[in-house]
Amino acid sequence: MAVEQHGGSEEDGGFLSESQKERIRAFAKKFRSNTKAMVGLVIVLSLIFVAVFAPFIAPYEMNDTSVEDRTQAPSVEHPFGTDDLGRDIFSRVVLGSRISLYVGFGAISGALLVGAVVGVVSGYAGGLTDEIIMRVMDAAMAFPPVLLALTLLVVLGPELVNVIIALAFVYTPYIARVSRSAALAERNEAYVESAVARGESDTRIVFSEVFPNCMAPILVQGSLNVSFAILAEASLSFLGLGAQPPRPSWGLMINTGRGFMETAPWMLLFPALAIGIAVVGFNMLGDGLRDVLDPKVEAIE
């Protein structure tokens, strides 16, 4: 959606022309008719809704312990049951969505910012610049994401902000790769040559001509990577290097629930379900966006 508005009208005083409205309408129509994208969008929007209004939705405080209510099975009072300290799991899952989304969006925004610029510049510049940048990216990509993030966190210290920094670093090369290949394709289009012939500088060509045309694949890659980042945060928290107790991170909750798998499986089940739903949601949104956001297909019509 952001892409469509990107072509927008900084010069026309913010008013959308008929043509731009038409473009957005056509996009919305295509988006609506794409089941995958719609399901993904609904899941993601609900997640965001839950995260934003978490304190109002959650019936209990996240740290409300109660000794007599320890490891209770799901009931009307505690829909997801309670954990070993008698805390309401439903409330903790709801509040945990904040952490997951915070880390997911935070890490990927960082990765997008750096990766897209690096990738598009590298793809447009070509030659030696491209070689050097991409070899560095390849080296970073050679490490398994979680392992690299772990190493970074050991250095930076186990804090949520550091998780974001580490994950942003880990996912930058993925975004850069996609951006570069998009820029490579766009570089050969005649409008770039036309801009050179018009006397534009390279900087302007990269950011004003090439960049907007690479947005679609970059955004798709970004929304897919949000789900990986959420997963990675859960893994890191599970390993004890992410969010620290008593923060209700889903990964951390699974880690605690691990010990009670036989006596209180809900402690593990519901956070795991939440992770699953979030990952599937972002994945479907990304996949759907990929189907919808292909300007070439649209232009051929």
């Binding site: 072509g7 010069e11 043509s19 289009e189 409008y191 036309s194 006397g199």
Partner: protein, 723 residues
Amino acid sequence: MSAQQAEDADPVASSTADSSADQPLLDVRGLRTEFRTETEPVVASNRVSFSLERGDTMGLVGESGAGKSVTARSIMRLIDPPGEITDGQVVFDGEDLLQKSEKEMRDIRGNRIAMIPQDPMSSLNPVMTVGEQIIETIRRHQSVSKSEARRLAIESMDDVGIPDAEERIDDYPHEFSGGMRQRVLVAIGFSCEPDLIIADEPTTALDVTTQAKILDLLNEMQERENTAVLMITHNLGVVAQTCDHVGVMYAGNLVETAELDHLFERPRHPYTRSLIDSIPEVETEYDELPTLDGAMPDLSDLPSGCNFAPRCPHATEACRSGGDPALEGVGDGSSRAACIHADDLDLSESTAAKSGGGRREIDRSGEPLFEVRNLKKYFSAGEGLLGNVRLSREGGGLPTIERRYVKAVDDVSFDIYPGETVGLVGESGCGKSTVARTVLRLLEPTGGEVYFEGEPIHDLGSGAIRSLRREMQIIFQDPHSSLNPRKPVGRIIGRAMERHDIATGEEKRQRVRELLERVGLSGDAANKYPHEFSGGQQQRVAIAHALAVEPKLIVCDEPVSALDVSVQAQILNLLNEIQEESNISYLFISHNIGVVRHICDRVAVMYLGKIAEFGRIGDIFSAPFHPYTESLLSAVPHADPKRKTDRILLEGSVPSPIDPPSGCPFQTRCPKKIGDVCEQEVPELEAVGDDDHRISCHLSVAEMSERDSFIAPREKREVAGSD
């Protein structure tokens, strides 16, 4: 509707019943193909009925979007969803193809019916070598060994004029130029010697000399194998040269079918007449090129009457209502036309205005605006830093290290005066586009000098070059790719003005509107995105973009070759008008001799990176000729079946620019080669007659003057001959 279709299919059905002894090879009856859309189905091909005898060639002509390709694909059952063949029969060799299973169709496709597709860029699999792709087709349908198939593949590549077939068979499609890829596709089509070849614009992407060869090859194969050909083309010249019968399509309907001679002598449908008229004749001088106004109606929103009525000069009230007329027999001949006035109208005379004194004279007394001297552009042959290094051991002795270059442009000089149009013609790969990019410094020249109003472009720093770009603009071949799809056209055009501080804010917006109106679009178009325009309109936007900075020179790199014939003339007229108003100069690059004839003042004919001949239009088209120019001009197909030009077919193919021939670059193919001197000495570009006409050839002027002229009207030539 269905009753009408049945009626329509009847005459064909009954005529085939009469001659059932020797059935036609292909008999299409009432074919209807629809594409489902969200609202209602769009009928892309409607009530199409025709038959094709063994060994005959039938042409299907019409503008793009007329339904030619859909019809052809329907015959091969290659319509993908949401498309669907909803009615009709396709009887091939006595069997209805529409009733066959998909498996049976697979044995027919490529083997008995082969297709030569339209788009050479996307029709070859980029991850397989061209050899594999030809061999694949051969081995799918013929039981031959791998090595035998390979030999056949090399042979068929040779047949379609691919140089060094034996080496190039293991190359990938991207290593071939567009024209070469089309030849590979032709080779694949012919590889199994099918009964019917459906050629979908097979020569549109080829050069005239290659086109002539391919068309000859098609004719030859057809006679030898008794192959029938269904030739889909927008080029009436190709039709006139190859076909026996012609079907004219418009908005999904066959509007006229006739024998070739009847069609050109007396077209029965006004659309046919307009199509024939929209092709400029080489002999005629025009004030303005004849155009066919308007555009094909939107297939989802057809007019209530005859589809052609809105553009038809003969339309009456009766035409505008009462549905689209059916295809019916007209007169005594074999013609059929879908026009209610077909019997009354006499369309045998051309309606195009021919008057006019041609182009005005150019004052070449002052300083040239643009001067190119000894321009050279070499590309490294191979990838990377050391990719072009080869060890060579010529003449024995120690191997020497040699760097290899593709000499794309080698020693080219010309000049352009204010208000003049200089053409660069030549076949693909002759270096004309490289010249265009190198003179503008979009590519760095390897050597030589380029002056613009005395400023040495080759010597300027990048900042100075960027400022000078205001004076020199370029229009590209593919308007679709030359406009940024993410920006409204108003911003694309306005940006050019901002960049060079010509106008900003309200003034800029005003001027964008004026420019858009100037190029024949509405001023409101500024807010639209490029994809909302048709190809012709996009090229108009590209012209507006070039004009926005008020340049003195515009380089036009094949500006009309991606457009429909009727639109081509509109764009060329627009370029001419703009030149008359603002005295702009053009460097006009084209492979289309007919176009060059009508827009250029002087022409440089290029071959293998060198200029073979340079002179005024009149000089180029009249004796003395460079042998290459002569063959190039003789190969142009004319939209007149009775005209038999003695075409000079060139031997072999264009040599590789990595390893150009010694001496004269044209000596390997020259029909007039005189001997050793051609192989040893590079001929100078020398003046013949007056100083403005220069030819690079060892032949004497008399030897180059055996033929008269390609543009003098025939009557005049006879008079001259009797004198």
